[in-house]
Symmetry: D3
Subunit: 117 residues, 6 copies
């Protein structure tokens, strides 16, 4: 298993563990989860479009576990790799060089979650 795959799995485990902790310990965290649910509900925009918006933001704000999560969701919701790359291109325009750095990890996440034929 490559370093990148290990990192992806480490992010998933950390999320699971912290989810359990903060759901119990924090009413604000529970409210955040409702916010997340509402923000990504299918509506006038499809969920996969919302996930691609989140990918682009994640890249600009440099949140790798966010990239991992939203790339996975976008692919599961039927976004194509070509579409995700175009969302990332908007992040290039809005974030410059550091966005191209974060796009390296987005590539790893796409490879990890890419649907197998």
């Amino acid at each position: 298993m490559s370093e990148e795959q290990k990192r992806i799995e480490a992010y998933q485990e950390a999320r699971k563990k912290a989810d359990a902790y903060y759901q119990k310990a924090s009413p604000a965290y529970r409210a955040f989860q409702e916010l997340a649910k509402q923000a990504f509900r299918p509506g006038a925009l499809e969920k996969r479009v919302k996930e691609m918006i989140a990918i682009a933001i994640s890249i600009v704000v440099k949140c790798e576990p966010c990239i991992e999560h939203h790339v996975r969701e976008a692919l599961q919701d039927g976004a194509t790799e070509e579409q995700i790359v175009e969302a990332i291109e908007v992040a290039f325009e809005m974030g410059g060089g550091p966005a191209t750095v974060q796009a390296r990890f987005a590539l790893e996440a796409m490879e990890h979650y890419r649907p197998r034929q």
Copy 2:
């Protein structure tokens, strides 16, 4: 003319003036303009979707003139206010309270550029 409308017009004038200056003075600026053109070209995602991605990023990174620009473009490209609000909702999830603050100006921009019937 309200304060907000004045601000919107001030942003447009500042952009026009600086565009002229940096296009002449800066090769890197000219390259940036090509980057911007490529990032928003219609492709696997429609241009209006890319503009909504840019709105959401603009809100999270707190760039008011960016909000003004991309709201205008999104509306011109046929995005509905309902769709733009849903893009903004992703920014709420990714940016918390400060994103809700920036969404105030996004509302002003939507009102300013909203198509008249």
Copy 3:
């Protein structure tokens, strides 16, 4: 009325207007409001301490309307100006020069909301 006082009032009006709009238009915004309510509930930390945490964050992330709001709340909850300045000092350490710039507006907000004797 000074420029700063005008700005403070403009922030309040913008909040009021946008609140009304997004409460109606956005389920994610309504969920955010619940998050905000939970985050500032009195608990193991007093509400005024939480407001001072929010002041310091607002300074570091450069959100003036957030500064205005949380300075007002902190003073109303009984925080002293001396305590607020000490919260701002942590922002100096964590945010450097740009934090000292934002602290200028925090001072205006403190003067605006300072309890009269």
Copy 4:
């Protein structure tokens, strides 16, 4: 030793090494250390409250070694885990999803430095 514990120790070693280097090489660094000392001095706010302000800022600005340092200090100064979680909740409100991601590492730091009975 878990991955997280290794990371915490790596942060401590990196701090120690760089401290020695920059203290010698950089007058600005030495001035920064005085700033840090002043920012966290006990005053109108207790030191542990200042450490919790720093934890919340660290989460919002995504600085893991900062989280590690200030969680350790807060616990040593007598802050309870419940209080730290409430400081983190303010970070959720001010930082949205990426703050919940950083809170995962804050949890690791709390577990690492949690006083043993």
Copy 5:
């Protein structure tokens, strides 16, 4: 007097007022001032180079009063407009679109402080 010139003067007044307040009220602020003095001392790099580094950072972190201050200092220390533009170009690369937005105000500051012949 144009809007931009008014803004520049407002920034100067706000700095002066807050300087007086925080110098008196905050030991951490006084330590920050020593940090600032050390960071910009002439050394292996000329002061004007350090000011241009600060201009570029100010643009990327979106601090207008910082831009105003460091453009003034750089010009006073003998930096040419061509050099400042090249420093800004690095900010374009590192900051993307929002950096080009901040460069608009940098242009205003350059015009304001440009040496008259």
Copy 6:
């Protein structure tokens, strides 16, 4: 090989891989590369000065692979370690504590790429 050296090599590999991918898949990425080329061209400022500007920005925006890249370039272009440290000091002033944290990795990069005698 130390952990830090491994990290430096991992950053180089990730860059190489992603470069190949995005150069092929993304016209916006290719435009970004032209922007990068223009931003660092020798001009009124020497290339090594531009690299030091980029180091300081990288530290403030917390982009480790950017630090690695620009420290390497600066040293290759003849910048001295003393000069780089002074650029980093401006980052301390503009970025506070989190900048001092990023400066730890800058030190590792300097050691890694330091010219051998």
